[in-house]
Amino acid sequence: GQQVMQIPQYQHVQEGEDFTTYCNSSTTLSNIQWYKQRPGGHPVFLIQLVKSGEVKKQKRLTFQFGEAKKNSSLHITATQTTDVGTYFCAGPKLNTGNQFYFGTGTSLTVIP
């Protein structure tokens, strides 16, 4: 079945260090979305990538969608304590409707 894996599962960084999480799908995705979930909170939409090879930036966050539309990455430059949370990638399989497959998530801890 469809699997979306993320690595690493956990990441501890010192404040100011960079952070990257990688998302890999077993099948081609129609598009990919990234969500952030703060401890005790709910997933909050960050960004959507649609095109093969697409790169988008949001301030210190850089998102990439792979050429084959099966992988993606999120890179945070100079982490801050407000970046703490779990980052999930998610997307529908290509040519399917609206069953979203969420990645396993990467939990980020930022040490002040």
Partner: protein, 116 residues
């Protein structure tokens, strides 16, 4: 800003009891979803709903689960006979439509279900 609301925030029930989790999606959204998140684990898709019927469902969504849109605003998830392993956070989400940019999902704050 419009938001998805869920009630109750926490539901405690005895094993074997029926529970109904309630959600009010964003008013102009057409697609509704239920997800489950067991503590510390990933978000798992349960079901999507469109035009008053189930659009897709996962293998988790067995005969014990049902969804309903009883009126123009509420979207409910019913678990007929709860099991211990149903204990989880249940998130409702809605999206405007399908397709890129329209399928962005907005999540409610969740209902924590505790089955004793």
């Amino acid at each position: 800003e419009p938001e998805v609301t869920q009630t109750p925030s926490h539901q405690v029930t005895q094993m074997g009891q029926e529970v109904i989790l309630r959600c009010v999606p964003i008013s102009n959204h057409l697609y509704f979803y239920w997800y489950r998140q067991i503590l510390g684990q990933k978000v798992e898709f349960l079901v999507s709903f469109y035009n008053n019927e189930i659009s897709e469902k996962s293998e988790i969504f067995d005969d014990q689960f049902s969804v309903e849109r009883p009126d123009g605003s509420n979207f409910t998830l019913k678990i007929r006979s709860t099991k211990l392993e149903d204990s989880a956070m249940y998130f409702c989400a809605s999206s405007e439509a399908l397709g890129a940019t329209k399928n962005i999902q907005y999540f409610g704050a969740g209902t924590r279900l505790s089955v004793l």
